[in-house]
Amino acid sequence: MIKVGLIVNPISGMGGSVGLKGTDGDAYKKAIELGAKPVVPRRVKDTLSLIKRKDIYFLVAKKQMGEDYVREFSFKYEVVGEIKEKTTAEDTKKIAKELISKEINLLVFAGGDGTARDIYDAIGTSVPVVAIPSGVKMFSSVFALSPYAAAKMIDSYPCEITDKEVLDIDEDAFRNNKLAAKLYGYLKVPKIESLLQQGKESSNLTVAERKRKREIAKYVAERMEKDTLYLLGPGTTLKSVADELKIEKTLLGIDAVYKGKMVGKDINEKELLNLLKKHKKAKIIVTPIGGNGFIFGRGSKQFTPQVLELVGEKNIIVVATQEKVSSLECLRVDTGDMKVDERLKGHIRVITGYKEEMIIEVK
């Protein structure tokens, strides 16, 4: 028997049909006013209907936050926690924490980027999640691609686990009328391989992935020059590089390294510009964030057009696992400055392992 938590954000996705960017906070009211209908019940039910295993014990939130859907199926379940009539982000977080305290094996949630952020805030990477996409914004790569895929993740548990990104709209940028996503953190997601992949290749892909990141880190570290300032972007791959350098990395921010020492932690644009004034030679190391392969413009707004111009496009090092980069049609940039974007376009070299590189187009 496995214990599976279920949390549904009942209002997620409602803004989409009425032209809103999301239903976070007060936007929900506006969505209702505009006549939006909930999309989430159908998706949760699709998923539940495709689950094949019988040994599941569900722990679900009350009413429209879980109970209402699971009730229609033959699963054993119990209801956990209390909710208000109008559910908020706080409900999601509170119930998620309660579920964790009941030692669930897996947390299924339905929602969008905002819900994913709430789940991340509440439980971090303590248990793997299955994310049923039903938001308006879904920049995050945590979401399952289909009811079929979500059900299969549940059926396959316990299985290989991988880190997936939680992105959401950068609210500061949004207020300035710019739509830019920011990396908020990582959730753990079951990794299902296509059934047609004949024969498993590795008994534990998570370990392999970690090993691959270490290889990348080792190669990058070996090639670092002494008289150069290195600006490490956000993400777990960059964290591996920092680990190799024995430096404590800010997972979601930018750190600066010079001669193997940290010279700036979680720095903003102004601090970056100051550092760049002090150092003649500087290089940026970044990894693509999100499923569309953005290396600038998602998750690292501190790398502004001005910073990028100072560093120069020849001094940008991209790192990513073979698995991640080979799944991308191309890399993308969206710095907010067309001229800078244009200069970054063309083919670029990505470090994908120890002495292993990939040439890929930047669009």
Binding site: L145, Y148, S194, Q197, Q322, I359, E361
Partner: protein, 328 residues
């Protein structure tokens, strides 16, 4: 199960070939005599208008590719494309000293030739399949190949597994360029996948290092391959049928709304937003190749099958694309 996942020829080899296999078992407790291999090499030499001594046989071309990667990437950089014949690429990633992969991107899947030429400042082995599997695109042309080959520190290995479907080859350059090798297989075009017969047409440099490749191949394989080469018209007729079916399959898929990338071979590259399409099809008795694990999500490779197999595949695809539960 309908097998549209391994680019097999859906037609069996000729009756003569089947008889040759049956006739091969008389001395099956003995290793194949070298003259069996020699006669097959002779036939391949004549088929390819190449010199007999340049031909190295292998029980499937994968063994040749692995061996060449093992031997030549120890003190050379390796350049390959992604996607390509994946077993070779994976072996290379794990074993090459240094590897540069070129991501082929939709919609044109072109090789960035300038970036390749820029890379050739040190001893390098380049392996490219032409046409490429799974995009079906021709990645190389004569001018570019000769540009590469004039640098004697560079070795170029062209995997022409699908040669018979395009009839475009660089095999005639092997005599002039010691640093060129052509990998071929009879598995697909000659309907011999169950027997495994690959071969290398080796330039002098390759030949020097691989002359001792194991020579005692399975006797049924040697007999069948030789018999098949006596009547290439049979193979050509099958290819003609496959190419006609490919067109039908392509337009059928387009009608359903599936994105099809036109290739020149016995398979199609398609893009389909339905996640886990290959798993869904497998549940319905059809196998296709899911490219999402090794390459881009949503891309699949479909071999051209028998007309009735292709019909069934199209019918299932239509049902699937019309099923909202399979998409979000």
């Amino acid at each position: 199960m309908i097998r549209l996942h391994m680019n097999e020829n859906p037609y069996p080899p000729s009756e003569n070939v089947l008889r040759a296999i049956k006739d091969s078992i008389n001395n099956i407790n003995r290793y194949s005599e070298l003259k069996y291999a020699d006669k097959l090499k002779e036939a391949l030499a004549s088929y390819n208008n190449a010199s007999e001594k340049r031909i190295i046989l292998s029980p499937g071309s994968e063994f040749l590719l692995r061996e060449l990667i093992n031997i030549f990437s120890g003190n050379r950089k390796l350049i390959m494309t992604n996607p390509t014949f994946f077993p070779a690429l994976k072996h290379a990633i794990r074993n090459a000293r240094k590897i540069i992969k070129h991501q082929l991107s939709p919609p044109n899947f072109e090789l960035n030739r300038e970036m390749i030429l820029e890379e050739l400042y040190e001893p390098t082995l380049i392996i490219v399949d032409n046409p490429n599997n799974p995009t079906g695109k021709m990645l190389l042309d004569r001018k570019f190949v000769m540009e590469i080959l004039k640098n004697k520190d560079i070795l170029l290995l062209v995997d022409e597994a699908y040669y018979e479907f395009v009839k475009y080859t660089f095999a005639d350059l092997v005599d002039s360029y010691p640093n060129l090798g052509i990998v071929r297989t009879m598995d697909k075009s000659f309907s011999l996948a169950g027997l495994r017969i690959g071969y290398l047409i080796a330039g002098d440099f390759f030949l020097k290092e691989i002359y001792d490749f194991p020579r005692f191949l399975p006797i049924p394989t040697l007999f069948a391959a030789r018999e098949a080469l006596k009547n290439p018209e049979y193979m050509e007729e099958n290819i003609r049928k496959i190419l006609i079916e490919r067109k039908r399959l392509e337009s059928g898929l387009k009608k359903i709304g599936v994105t099809v990338f036109s290739g020149e071979v016995n398979f199609l590259l398609i893009k389909c937003d339905i996640p886990e399409l290959s798993t869904i099809l497998m549940d319905r008795g059809i196998m296709i190749k899911d490219l999402s694990t090794d390459w881009i999500e949503g891309f699949y490779r479909v071999s051209v099958g028998l007309p009735e197999e292709n019909d069934k595949f199209l019918a299932e695809m239509e049902k699937i694309t019309n099923n909202p539960a399979l998409k979000w």
